[in-house]
């Protein structure tokens, strides 16, 4: 996750010489007891969750004895904030605080540079005092200016004897933020203890998703900006994204509370960030609840679109599938059409599908999708750039409401042809295998398959298809073989199958 918990952020500060309270994150009540006993005296227990107003929500409790700490830990570990279950609690010594400050480094998009927010009244309620907060410009290469910090402190009521320690701590916070490439690094409050030490009493850090690859030391499992710990499917999707960088694939599950009172739960498959947002607004306006956000764009391979569709369909309780991008895509749309057609056929799709495939080669894309899905129990409709998102949303509503079947995505199951895994011809490609039922092929079909696979297959001299190039050359040719698979299917001769099992869905583990 690209957000760090309080205790993780504090560890980064401690490594750079900034004082933080003694304490430890725990996952069981007994650990809370033991940590409290070791710390001695009064302790504070804080849920580790990305929520604001943690204290007001009951996520912060104080304990005078180890037994009390254990009881509190039990309470806190059972808490859940929205879709965020608490799994860790930080147990720390209580501090003897003399002064509190608010310190936060974030990114100023207008200045194209970091900005340090500093307020010497500090502590809670900072949102209400936005006007009194000092905003200091920070240099990308040189960090925060010492004199700027001193000037803010000089104008405050904090006694001058503490300023030196605070300047050091504030500069170190800014340096830490830069070194770990934080998008936001907040210490609220930074406190001055009774003995004059500057100490980071809380810490919230968001790391730039795109820089996570440079920071293995942060132990970030999934570089995604989410407001909850990654779900199993989000982990699986992240694994797919990481294994194949051709085009973007982004998948996030959304809160679905109250979906029973709407027209239904829709699986959403967007293309392009802006187009996806605009299309989501169109489905939401129709009165559906979206189960997820998903974006496959930037010229994704057919395999990536296929896997995205499979992941979307692995969600519980879907009553339909809606796809739409910007509507006027620069990318040719037929690879996506092939990928979607493959997923719907494998799952013997039974839920209404509306896909807006507008853009380059849209006629071909719509024809592929609709024709390849014509035998399925589901209505599958493809649309073009001149069909508005609102119109497509209306078609989706109509198809869902016309349907008498009450099955959902829970009732879908994947099927693969009988010749897969048997003695049929097979060769590996990245992430799977291509299987060909050569016994069922003839000269005429083989010639077509050579064409559909962009020449990667050829006639072996006996009317059967065989690879025209070395196996290494076809490793990334999933789009070509998926095209061939769907074209064979369209003429009623399903002799080729690209088996692309998804780790965590079709096979055990291995995801992310």
């Amino acid at each position: 996750m690209a957000r760090l918990h309080e205790y993780q952020g504090k560890a980064l500060l401690k490594q750079r010489g900034i004082h933080v309270p003694d304490g430890q994150a725990i996952t069981t009540p007994q650990q809370a007891h033991d940590v409290a006993a070791e710390l001695g005296g009064r302790v504070v227990l804080k849920v580790q969750a990305w929520i604001t107003g943690r204290k007001a929500l009951g996520g912060v409790l104080f304990a005078d004895t180890p037994d009390e700490a254990k009881a509190h830990a039990e309470t806190l570990l059972a808490m859940r904030f929205g879709n965020f279950p608490v799994s860790e609690v930080l147990v720390e010594q209580c501090l003897d605080i003399a002064h509190e400050l608010f310190v936060s480094q974030s990114i100023d998009d207008a200045a194209r540079a970091p900005m340090l927010l500093l307020d010497c009244a500090g502590g809670s309620g900072i949102e209400d005092r936005a006007d009194s907060v000092a905003r200091l410009a920070v240099s990308v290469s040189d960090g925060v200016n010492e004199d700027d910090v001193k000037a803010v402190l000089a104008a405050s009521e904090i006694p001058a004897q503490h300023h030196g320690a605070l300047v050091t701590a504030i500069q170190a916070i800014a340096t830490t933020a830069r070194e770990c490439e934080a998008r936001a690094f907040e210490v609220n409050p930074l406190v001055v203890l009774a003995d004059g030490t500057a100490c980071a009493a809380d810490c919230r850090v968001t790391i730039d998703d795109y820089a996570v690859f440079r920071h293995p030391e942060l132990g970030i499992e999934i570089a995604r900006e989410l407001d909850h710990p990654a779900t199993e499917l989000e982990r699986i999707a992240y694994g797919v994204e990481q294994a194949d960088h051709r085009g973007t694939f982004y998948f996030a599950q959304l809160p679905t509370d109250g979906h029973e009172d709407t027209k239904g739960l829709a699986g959403f498959h967007g293309a392009g960030g802006g187009g996806s947002m605009m299309s989501m607004d169109a489905v939401t306006n129709e009165g559906f609840t979206l189960a997820n956000f998903c974006d496959t764009s930037g010229n994704p391979s057919a395999a990536k679109v296929y896997r995205a569709a499979r992941i979307i369909l692995s969600q519980d309780g879907l009553t339909g599938y809606f796809g739409s991008g910007s509507g006027v895509a620069s990318q040719e749309q037929f690879h996506s059409a092939y990928g979607l057609a493959k997923a719907f056929n494998e799952m013997n799709m039974n839920l209404p599908v509306v896909i807006r495939l507008g853009g380059n080669a849209e006629d071909r894309a719509v024809e592929i999708l609709e024709d390849a899905c014509r035998e399925l129990p589901a209505h599958v409709e493809g649309y073009r750039k001149d069909d508005t998102p609102a119109f497509c949303g209306g078609r989706f509503t109509a198809l869902v409401q016309e349907r008498t079947d009450t099955s959902t995505s829970n009732d879908l199951a994947r099927s693969v042809p009988d010749y897969v895994g048997g003695n049929a011809e097979a060769f590996p490609i990245e992430g799977g295998h291509v299987w060909i039922d050569v016994e069922s092929c003839d000269t005429e079909l083989t010639a077509k398959m050579a064409d559909w696979s962009s020449g990667l297959l050829k006639d072996d001299g006996t009317g059967r298809p065989t690879l025209a190039v070395d196996e290494e050359e076809v490793a990334k040719a999933d789009s070509e073989f998926i095209a061939c698979e769907i074209e064979c299917l369209r003429i009623g001769r399903p002799v080729l199958f690209v088996d692309l099992p998804i780790a965590g869905i079709d096979t055990d583990g291995g995801a992310a």
């Binding site: 990305w50 974030s106 990114i107 998009d109 207008a110 194209r112 540079a113 970091p114 949102e127 990308v140 290469s141 830069r178 490439e181 998008r183 936001a184 730039d208 998703d209 795109y210 820089a211 690859f213 440079r214 900006e225 989410l226 407001d227 973007t248 982004y250 996030a252 959304l254 967007g270 293309a271 392009g272 960030g273 802006g274 187009g275 996806s276 947002m277 605009m278 989501m280 607004d281 169109a282 939401t284 306006n285 979206l290 956000f293 974006d295 764009s297 930037g298 910007s326 509507g327 006027v328 895509a329 620069s330 990318q331 040719e332 853009g359 380059n360 750039k385 508005t388 998102p389 609102a390």
Partner: protein, 306 residues
């Protein structure tokens, strides 16, 4: 006139020998862009789509007596060094196409660009297109599509388009053209948090462009560029009509939807805040994207009546 790009500007491509670089060079040339050269370290001497490849930006600049625009197609982690190389070689407008460029790299590029008086667009931009003139980047995908989709400027009925979304840049251009409007330039500023040119800077260029009669925006939640544009309108520095759609009404705080910049942080960057700021400044803000062309047409009809 158009802004940022026309058929006279000398364009080069960094990373010209890669998959994207090759494909987009073809589009740019077929559309009439004046592509003068390209570079990929270690690949000097090759030819791509009839374009001579050099090892460095400086060599391309020298061979062509200067370069106006460099379009960058290199892996995200190499974008910072590529951009700085171009800026230091004297190129004044850089287009950073790659997605997933680290934020601190983008800020580093901004610092160097400011020192050299250079501008950049992106990261994560499809670039810019001036219909009938040139397309540095990849809007339209194919030259033939780009010509079909986007009208050339029509005197008295021409809009400039600025978008945070790549796909929606084409979408806006296409639907506005179908509604009978001309397009001076479409600028995709990019979807990231820290960008080179943003709405205010591009809008000021449209304000100064005699060919552009009105400005159309595809905005999104997150960041402050819609609000900053509203400030310019309120201050009287943008006086041409502005028509806008803001995406992401359904989004909630804290989860980002693909675009790194499309995230609401606290009470900053909300849909409601942007709509309010623009409306108060006098922009026409539509609720549904499908209403955008009609609203843009409305601007011209109102002008004709008054």
């Amino acid at each position: 006139m158009a802004i940022l790009i026309d058929e006279t500007k000398k364009v080069m491509i960094q990373g010209i020998t890669g998959r994207e670089g090759r494909a987009r060079t073809k589009l740019m040339r077929e559309f009439g862009t004046n592509v003068v050269g390209g570079c990929t370290p270690g690949k000097g001497g090759q030819d791509v789509e009839g374009i001579h490849v050099h090892d460095t930006v400086a060599e391309v600049v020298e061979a062509n007596g200067g370069v106006d625009v460099s379009v960058v197609f290199v892996p995200a982690r190499l974008v910072k060094s590529a951009a700085i190389e171009a800026i230091e070689a004297g190129v004044k407008l850089i287009m950073l196409v790659p997605d997933r460029v680290p934020l601190w790299d983008a800020m580093g590029i901004a610092e160097v660009a400011a020192d050299h008086g250079a501008e950049f667009i992106g990261p994560n931009t499809l670039g810019v297109i001036s219909p009938g003139r040139a397309v540095p980047g990849m809007i339209g995908g194919r030259a033939e599509s780009a010509r079909q989709w986007f009208n050339e400027p029509i005197p008295g009925r021409t809009v400039g388009v600025i978008s945070r979304s790549g796909g929606m840049s084409s979408s806006c251009g296409y639907y506005l053209s179908r509604a009978g409007l001309g397009i001076s330039t479409i600028c995709h500023v990019g979807g990231d948090s820290v960008l080179g040119l943003t709405f205010p800077e591009v809008a000021l260029k449209f304000q100064d462009d005699p060919e552009t009669d009105a400005i159309v925006l595809f905005g999104e939640i997150g960041g402050s560029m819609e609000e900053r544009l509203a400030d310019l309108m309120a201050a009287g520095r943008i006086t041409k009509p502005v028509v806008a759609y803001i995406g992401g009404k359904a989004a909630r705080e804290g989860t980002r939807f693909s675009h790194a910049g499309a995230i609401i942080e606290g009470d900053r960057g909300t849909h409601a805040g942007k709509v309010r700021a623009l409306t108060q400044a006098g922009a026409v803000v539509v609720d549904g994207f499908g209403d955008l062309p009609e609203a843009a047409l409305g601007v011209f009809e109102n002008a004709a009546r008054s």
